[in-house]
Subunit: 451 residues, 2 copies
């Protein structure tokens, strides 16, 4: 398959056909395009064009396109669809995708759509799914799954699966339950095909089955599924009843979203935003961390004022020219140290005690610090700076680097121990605190040596 | 299932049993632990203990544990295993995992292990897999898959699958090939079960099948699989022959690794390292970016020297106390702007031209900048700074914020257009360049107003 590439030309063609209302030609042009690609196209069109295009498809394709659209575009398009159109689309979707779309509607429209759905089971499933938090197992799971009673024969199981399987896009495992609907094991389709047809399920199923509680955090579900290489995991309630199933494709999206949020958070951007969001949303995401930096910067104004006496000495005023260098080193070293710890904590690979970590970081920062300080010393000599001043600058910088590394290492570990997400303790947070601390330390050490 | 939690107690127990050589008790203790958890345990043990423990298991479990170990631990343990032990282990693995382990051996041991494998097909498969780059489709794929000839009947296909399926952990799709082994379509196990047994495969297969070329970059494979929610994708060569299959669990690992590398790169840590690597490796990963920061900082020394004249004026020397604030604002704003663009580029959601982007960023940075500048103005008034000085500081800072945002936005877009990975253009890179530029701009504007 050639990978689909969205071209300006195709977009122009589609927009022109919409303008000319040439539906037959338009349908011919787009009918073989995958729904995920159609969603990309609609993301680029105006709202009116998008609505026009989406209404050309049957409710199955419409609903699939809806699931793939950017959230803000989807919101706009849903507003332009009737209750019946939305309900028809939702019926075609897996229950988890259907619930996600419903969750974006206003309470009033949500209720109307649900009451428009004639299939009572589906409506109940959707109401159940909507009751869970978005980021927990219940919010990620779908109700569609294939289950077998332990007392069935292989033959009966095969014929039941033909029935159940019609609603399930991908079968993965067959979950085995007892007469009380409790999850007791699993069975792969392959095992079932290979088994003699008169065997009972209870003779062939595997009792060792991973599962997650319906309230488990999405992050932990992702960890379990990726650690054990699972492609689907059954979801149970507190009484161990089988209530749903999470498939790996939803977890892939979840992992990507989490990684993106962490990436932006480390850059001082809070919340689930992206480049195409509105200026208001982006300001809301960015201003708080900039404000933190501002407060820290104003704090360092006071600190520098405290060392004003250096300015009166023509030899020592040079120290003030080094403040950006010191702030940069403190910030960069701190961000490196904290980022690698935050990453390690997320992967549960930060072993040993805080003390052991600090000893390692001490060694690491001493090596980096000595190399960088020596270079700074050489720079000082090269520009004919008084040798004692160059020496003091280098020594102070070395201390700043070591302390910045230790701060960068400790803060995430301490936060993590207190149950606070350590991911906030990198980026602007560490940069700002290390800036202040680094500048103070630099001038303080210089003062000890020089004044 | 209770999620496994590695405890100090369990580790201690295992270490004691190893010391006492109480194999029977030890095996009883660990036999029901999942191999991914056993790998976690061995990661914590000493090399000798790890080797002792791993040798207690049969070659199937040994090999599965090996695939899950940390790379540096695995390397050590492989050194302690004989050629025969490694070969026995590798035979039990899927070919992609086997090739990954082989790739870590020295060329000499690699050849010995391969010639120890009696199954000629497997040996050929491994040699083929080893010939691909690690990060392309060929390096990610496994040779195990289930394929059906279009001319088979459903009945024959079912019986062939029983045979082929024994070597394939998860079947997913059945790939349909013509008589020349060219990939022409796919079939799900479910479709096969539901179809009448006398039908021919050519009557029931789906001709629309996604595939990737064996040389396709891993990153692009991940994009395709996650965009189209695929759980497995067939790999073809230039002649469209089916040569392998990539499953989503390998892609999950790939996505996580890539996200981690990007996260660390944004913090100025280059390459595939983690908190537990050696000090030498960590220094190699961290020093280059620190050095960049050092050079930038030394550059700003010269810039500040150029504005030395401010120091002689008692009213204006305060400006030097503001350098860390200005550097911090320039750096933080630049990192925010670049990070969100880098993220957007990675997801192909950066729409519109560079000019449109810059206009949006101009608006955004003006809003943020005006709020922050007003606050700085108020701060100046509160500490009884001359009002004209506060005004100049605020205006200069506003300019710095706007320019930093525009630089942060442009650089990744320009790099991306030139085919350079924009991910390098955030973190220390943007911080350093914006520090220098911000400080210069700040003093330059101040000079225009004040001197």
């Amino acid at each position: 398959m050639e990978s689909f590439q969205l071209s300006e030309l195709l977009l122009k063609k589609i927009a022109d056909l919409i303008l000319a209302k040439k539906n037959v030609t338009l349908i011919k042009l787009v009918q073989d395009i995958h729904f995920a690609d159609l969603a990309e196209i609609i993301n680029e069109l105006s709202k009116e064009q998008g609505v026009y295009l989406i209404k050309l498809f049957d409710s199955e394709k419409t609903s699939e396109i809806l699931t793939e659209l950017d959230e803000d575009i989807r919101e706009k398009i849903l507003e332009s669809l009737s209750i019946k159109e939305i309900a028809d689309g939702i019926k075609e979707l897996d229950s988890d995708d259907a619930a996600d779309i419903l969750a974006e509607l206003s309470d009033e429209r949500k209720e109307k759509v649900i009451s428009e759905i004639s299939d009572g089971n589906l409506a109940d499933d959707l109401i159940e799914l909507l009751s869970y938090e978005e980021d927990c197992a219940g919010g990620l799971m779908a109700k569609e799954l294939v289950k077998a009673n332990e007392n069935w024969t292989v033959l009966r199981c095969l014929s039941e699966i033909k029935k159940q399987g019609e609603n399930v896009t991908r079968v993965h495992s067959i979950y085995v339950v007892d007469n009380k609907e409790k999850l007791i094991g699993r069975l792969s389709l392959k095992d079932l095909i290979i088994a003699p047809s008169k065997n009972k399920i209870k003779d062939i199923y595997i009792s060792n089955v991973d599962s997650v509680n319906v309230l488990e955090k999405g992050e932990d579900v992702a960890k379990i599924m990726s650690k054990y290489d699972l492609e689907a995991i059954p979801v149970i309630d507190d009484k161990k009843h089988l209530v749903g199933r999470i498939t790996i494709d939803d977890i892939v999206d979840f992992i990507k979203d989490e990684a993106e949020e962490d990436y932006l958070l480390a850059a001082g951007i809070q919340g689930d935003v992206e480049a195409d969001d509105s200026i208001f949303e982006l300001t809301k995401a960015r201003l708080p961390w900039l404000f933190l930096g501002l407060v820290g910067g104003l704090g360092s104004v006071f600190i520098l004022e405290g060392f004003e006496e250096f300015m009166t000495n023509p030899n020592y005023k040079t120290l003030f020219f080094f403040t950006p260098l010191i702030a940069a080193m403190a910030g960069n070293v701190g961000v490196q140290s904290s980022a690698i710890i935050v990453q390690g904590l997320a992967n549960d690979i930060v072993r040993g005690s805080l003390l052991q970590r600090l000893i390692k970081e001490l060694g690491l920062s001493l090596i980096n610090g000595i190399i960088l300080s020596l270079f700074t010393m050489l720079f000082g000599i090269a520009i004919n700076q008084p040798i004692e001043l160059s020496f003091v600058i280098s020594i102070s910088m070395l201390c700043v680097i070591v302390v910045a590394a230790l701060i960068g290492t400790s803060i995430p570990i301490i936060l993590n121990k207190r149950g606070i997400d350590p991911a906030i303790a990198t980026g602007p947070f560490i940069t700002t605190s290390n800036d202040i601390f680094g500048i103070f330390l630099f001038f303080y050490i210089a003062k000890i040596f020089l004044l």
